[in-house]
């Protein structure tokens, strides 16, 4: 298998005596053990296991020996080289491990250094709250309906049983647009979305409508000319106030915690009859004897919104047959709900755009 040993010099051949082979092996093993790093081990490998190492040279001589001696010598040299290679591998592994360990120690950093190199973004808490509420209803099989904020007077008022001479029109201070005879307003409620939904869909209708609304309120800690409402509308056969109560109880428990329910008080809204104010049980004190509760001011209940059974007049104006269908509707302030859910004192924080405020809420609430 090998070619002619051109540089083979028989003169230098030393007899392959057993003790000499052992000496070569021991010298190699000693050198291996003495190698303290990978660099010196590399040299040891060349010196004791390389092509010109004594054992390699001895190995070459084996071929020239008589058959019986060749066998003995081959065995001897082979074992010696095996022992050297094994020692080299072991030593290599140890030194590599030592080296890696040292490197890792040397590369240690101060991991307490600040890590954020980019600005973090976030969504607005009212967007998050709107999404959260929409999701609660979508989970029940409802859908989310939408409409424009600059709205026709007829949809914002008349269709909702708020005729031009309805005293309740003065309950809401409306932004009117020019020219006045165009009958266009900034919607004062999200209810026109309900009207639009009934006008364009056939019952059964189960929709929730979150959105911006506008009223000519001066801007202060609890009022804003723009705020956010969420309304719900159900039109189906056999719908009653009990379904309204069930829905709002569920909504309350989902938004404020298990066991939080609602209370109805008679009220008046032109678009519903009967109408009710809905209070939500205080989720901090749970309404249990809590004169000191700051969230509900000791009342046990927090005013949440308005609701009622859809007035048949509204159904008629929106093309729904009140003989077949009944419905319920409710509406509450998203901002207000957010304020007491998240313990926020000043409504204006929502609209001032201070990045520290929105950033506190991340991208989900």
């Amino acid at each position: 298998m090998s070619g002619p040993n051109t540089d083979y010099d028989p003169v230098e051949v030393t007899p392959l005596k057993a003790d000499e082979v052992e000496a070569m092996r021991d010298a190699a093993l000693a050198a291996i053990a003495a190698a303290t790093d990978l660099e010196s081990l590399k040299q040891v490998r060349l010196d004791h296991a390389g092509d010109r190492s004594p054992l390699a040279l001895a190995n070459r001589e084996i071929g020239a020996l008589p058959p019986q001696a060749r066998k003995d010598a081959g065995q001897r040299v082979g074992q010696a080289r095996g022992a050297v290679n094994k020692a080299l591998a072991e030593r290599q592994a140890v030194l590599e491990a030592e080296h890696e360990e040292r490197m890792l120690v040397e590369e240690a950093v101060d991991v307490t250094l600040p890590a954020e190199r980019r600005r973090r973004g976030s969504r607005h808490p009212i967007t998050l709250q709107s999404d959260l509420i929409a999701d609660l209803f979508v989970a029940m099989g409802w859908e989310v309906a939408e409409g424009p904020v600059v709205e026709a007077e007829w949809l914002n008022f008349d269709a909702l049983n708020l005729g031009p001479d309805h005293p309740a029109r003065t309950m809401q201070d409306t932004f009117w647009t020019e020219p006045a005879d165009h009958h266009v307003v900034l919607r004062t409620q999200t209810s026109p979305v309900q009207a639009r939904t009934m006008l364009t869909r056939k019952p059964p209708i189960y929709v929730v409508c979150p959105g911006r609304v506008f009223r000519t309120d001066e801007y202060d800690a609890t009022h804003s000319p723009m705020f956010h409402q969420v309304e719900g509308l159900v039109v189906d056969e056999g719908i009653t106030m009990a379904h309204l109560k069930g829905t709002l109880d569920h909504f309350a428990s989902q938004l404020f915690g298990d066991g939080i329910d609602t209370r109805f008080r008679p009220s008046y809204f032109p678009f519903t009859e009967p109408s009710a104010e809905v209070d939500v049980r205080c989720f901090v004190c749970r309404g249990v004897d809590s004169p000191a509760c700051r969230t509900c001011k000791g009342e046990g209940w927090i005013e949440w919104g308005g609701c009622g059974v859809v007035n048949p007049r509204v159904l008629i104006a929106c093309g729904v047959d009140p003989e077949v269908y009944t419905g319920f509707a409710f509406g509450m302030g998203i901002d207000r709900s957010f304020m007491f859910r998240h313990n926020m004192a000043d409504l204006r924080d929502l609209f001032e755009g201070d990045v520290r405020f929105s950033a506190a809420f991340g991208t989900e609430i």
């Binding site: 976030s122 600059v150 020219p179 106030m241 009990a242």
Partner: protein
């Protein structure tokens, strides 16, 4: 509506065990929501006692005033039983009178602490009080002189003054105008509070029948004024004081005592709900006429305002001309004055809609108008007038004129058919027909029949017109708290629409790019657009104006989100923020020249054509996304210097959104305000411009007070969403080896990189997998007016390993096309 509890209890008996809290809780649950319970004396602490003036020595002062040095017997209240020495500035009392004394240690409203102090040469140990000092009204003409039987010196005086009265305030909804009276509230107590009994209706009284000796009244518009009752009191003493109970009660109700005659009309209005007007009878000339105003007529109302009237306004006239705006406000010429001794009492029923319109037209908001426009019981005009006459003659010493004028008759209440099971069907709880009838009778309805009940509402409930209105009455009395809680079962929903989902993803994507969402008001001015540097003919200058903006400084609905964002950015800078990005997604309002939005009928569904006209009359309201970046995009830190935000960050944020939507956006240079004319990218889908991004014009930054080199973008999300990829196709990645080729091309500095890239892409052909611009070089090595663009091209075939030279050939083809299209020369 505020009402003293004792006044309520004058008309209805409440069991002794029912506390104020329980009573108001019950009323709240049946629809009269408690707003608060207050007591006029709640701000007064310490000794407040009856005192008897023993001596009163007037002492003129250098400043022209005369004070009185008094000694006052306050019994044992001062601990000594000795007379108390008090300096008093008022003069309306004499020795022997009983007065109200607050002793040292007492505190009056406003935190006014009383101590013995030296004044006008005396030590004044306390104070003799006026009504105003006790928070009992505005009367500061003198101190309170108590009736001789008010009590013994030293006794606590709170009870006598009504200071310990509990005043309950209710929120009264527009449909419950009857509760704007003690009569109505007492009736609610009767039906709401267990054990309440023996309702004594103050509007039921024996009234003298109409006769022909009354003051002549002609009602020319009986629809506008169905009932007009006039009574006269003669020989009234205009100086007669208002009795304490009237003054205290109307003060408690939030009105101001003025004079006995005026106070009595207000008192009776509070008592019965029926507004009353009093005329100085001596100033009337000839018969009273009720009619609509004529074209061009004017009236000076008693608030001194000259009002140009509308022909719809109901007016009261006599031979002298107009003397009142019927049901809303009286005229100046016949106003009750301090010398009025003959009074004509008007108790008239007015058309509610007309009242509402007149009040709104003339911006008059009065206690009378509030009641008249919501509907008053038309059957009690005579009773209310009679009650006024009674009080005027009792306390003002006049005589009731025997003449009684009654014109017209109260309109009948319509009978409504109410299905016996309606309350059950509406409420979802079992309510029997018997219970329904019982509840309706409790609120004053007449009920007959069965199955379908024939129900006639009481005259004080004009709000009850539809069957469902009656169901509310039944359900509220049965109890809203008893309505069961049942979840309805909707059909399977379809979840959020795709557009709704995409909008959420857009918000998350922009947030992921490091921007913080904010919400701004959409109100802007021309000046805001000037600050953006918009040219005069910019379409964004066409804005929808508000008729009644909150501020004249922001009268229009914005067409761009940038003014709001830039203001917000400036505010954040003002708060010390240095590096931040903000964004908003909201609709903007783009007016279009179309006709008015019709007022459609409500007794049927409008036709599709009508609805179409309605919707088309509204402005376009596309959803926009805008963002602003300030300061560093990549922050400076221990790792080294950061990177200031630049035009490309704004572009990148929009591209990230487009990528999320699967929309391919192309970019080209544009020069559009408010951006830097050389650093403004126009973003297109196909040939449709969806928006712009880049560095803001330095003047815009200065105008809005944001740091120079801030960046911004604004795009139309509706267009982006419209082009969003419907269904993404799975990519097929080749597993064969990639061949990389880099080229550096020198082009004129004015050649857009996008053009070079497009040429390379096209020229490279199908084997090109990706192309990336990794360096842009300008400098001496390539000469002035030139730039070098270095691209990394990756080639790969889907089905085989590329052969030797194939990638190079494709690269050469790419370079050749770039040379042809853009004059590109490959750098050697």
């Amino acid at each position: 509506m505020k009402a003293p509890l004792s006044w309520i209890k004058e008309y209805v008996d409440v069991p002794a065990g029912v506390t104020t809290e329980e009573l108001t809780r019950r009323l709240t649950l049946t629809g009269l929501k408690l707003e608060g319970i207050e007591s006029p004396g709640s701000q007064i602490t310490g000794p407040l006692v009856v005192g008897r003036v023993l001596t009163k020595d007037p002492e003129p002062q250098k400043n022209g005033k005369t004070i009185s040095w008094c000694t006052v017997d306050v019994g044992d209240a001062n601990g000594t039983g000795e007379p108390q020495g008090i300096v008093c500035g008022a003069h309306n009392f004499e020795p022997g009178d009983l007065v109200v004394v607050v002793l040292p240690g007492g505190v009056l409203p406003g935190g006014f602490e009383i101590s013995a102090r030296k004044t006008y040469g005396h030590v004044s140990a306390g104070m003799i009080c006026s009504a105003r000092e006790l928070g009992l009204g505005d009367d500061h003409d003198g101190i309170i002189v108590l009736p001789a039987d008010a009590g013994e010196p030293g006794e606590d005086v709170r009870g006598v003054l009504g200071l310990d009265e509990e005043i309950v305030e209710f929120e009264v909804n527009p449909d419950r105008a009857y509760a704007l009276s003690l009569r109505g509230i007492a009736r609610e107590v009767l039906v709401s509070v267990d054990g309440a009994a023996d309702f004594r209706d103050p509007a039921i009284r024996d009234t003298p029948p109409a006769n022909d000796q009354g003051y002549p009244v002609v009602v020319e518009d009986p629809a506008g004024c169905p009932v007009f009752v006039a009574r006269r009191v003669t020989g009234f003493d205009p100086a007669a004081p208002t009795p304490d109970f009237i003054a205290q009660r109307i003060t408690a109700a939030g009105m101001r005592p003025i004079s006995l005659a005026v106070d009595v009309t207000n008192y009776v209005m509070l008592e019965t709900g029926r507004p009353i007007h009093g005329y100085d009878a001596d100033k009337l000339q000839g018969p009273i006429v009720v009619r609509r105003a004529r074209e061009g007529e004017r009236l000076t109302t008693l608030d001194g305002t000259v009002r140009a009237l509308d022909t719809e306004d109901l007016v009261i006239a006599d031979d002298s001309g107009l003397i009142g705006l019927g049901g809303v406000m009286g005229g100046e010429t016949t106003e009750l004055s301090k010398s009025t001794s003959n009074i004509l009492v008007e108790s008239a029923h007015w058309d509610a809609v007309s009242m509402f319109r007149t009040g709104k037209r003339h911006k008059i908001s009065s206690e009378a108008g509030k009641r008249n426009e919501r509907g008053v019981d038309p059957t009690i005009c005579e009773a209310a007038a009679d009650r006024v006459v009674e009080l005027l003659t009792t306390y003002g010493g006049g005589e009731a004129d025997p003449g009684v004028t009654v014109v017209g008759t109260p309109p009948a209440m319509p009978t409504v058919m109410v299905p016996g099971d309606l309350a059950t069907r509406v409420s979802g709880m079992e309510i029997s027909e018997e219970t329904t009838a019982e509840c309706l009778r409790a609120v004053g309805c007449e009920v007959s029949g069965s199955g379908a009940l024939e129900v006639t509402p009481p005259p004080w409930r004009p709000d009850l017109t539809d069957a469902q209105d009656f169901s509310e009455e039944v359900i509220r009395l049965v109890g809203y708290d008893r309505v069961p809680s049942v979840l309805p079962t909707p059909p399977s929903g379809r979840g959020l629409t795709r557009v709704q989902q995409l909008r959420r993803r857009i918000g998350r994507t922009v947030a992921g790019e490091g921007f913080v969402e904010v919400v701004s008001f959409p109100f802007v001015s021309e000046g805001d657009l000037d600050a953006l540097g918009l040219p005069a003919d910019d379409a964004r200058r066409t804005m929808l104006r508000l008729s009644n903006p909150l501020s004249s400084e922001a009268p229009s609905m914005t067409t761009t989100l940038l003014p709001g964002l830039l203001r917000t950015a400036a505010k954040n800078v003002g708060h010390g923020a240095e590096s931040f990005g903000i964004f908003e997604h909201a609709t903007v309002t783009l007016p279009r020249a179309v006709g008015p939005a019709p007022i459609l009928p409500v007794d049927r569904r409008p036709t599709d054509a009508e609805l179409d006209e309605l919707v088309k009359a509204l402005p376009d309201q596309p959803l926009h996304l805008a963002l602003v970046g300030v300061g560093e995009a990549e922050l400076s830190g221990w790792w080294g210097k950061g990177r200031h935000v630049e035009w490309s960050d704004a572009v990148a944020a929009v591209l990230a959104v487009a990528d999320e939507l699967g929309v391919e956006l192309t970019v080209r240079a544009a020069s559009v305000a408010p951006w830097h004319p050389g650093r403004c990218a126009e973003l297109l889908v196909g040939e449709t411009v969806v928006g712009h991004a880049g560095e803001l014009h330095p003047r815009v930054c200065a105008a809005y007070g944001v740091p120079a080199r801030s960046v911004a973008a604004e795009v139309d999300l509706d267009v982006l969403i419209e082009h969003a990829v419907q269904l993404r196709q799975a990519p097929h990645h080749s597993a064969y080896p990639v061949a990389k080729e880099d080229v550096a091309l020198v082009v004129d500095a004015s050649v857009p990189a996008a053009d070079v890239e497009a040429a390379l892409r096209e020229g490279a052909g199908e084997l090109l997998e990706s192309i990336r611009l990794f360096d842009v070089y300008t400098g001496d090595q390539i000469g002035e007016g030139k730039k070098s663009l270095a691209y990394a091209l990756r080639f790969r075939a889907p089905d085989r390993t590329l052969k030797e030279g194939e990638a190079a050939a494709a690269r050469d083809a790419a370079v050749a096309l770039a040379a042809e299209r853009c004059g590109a020369v490959q750098r050697s």
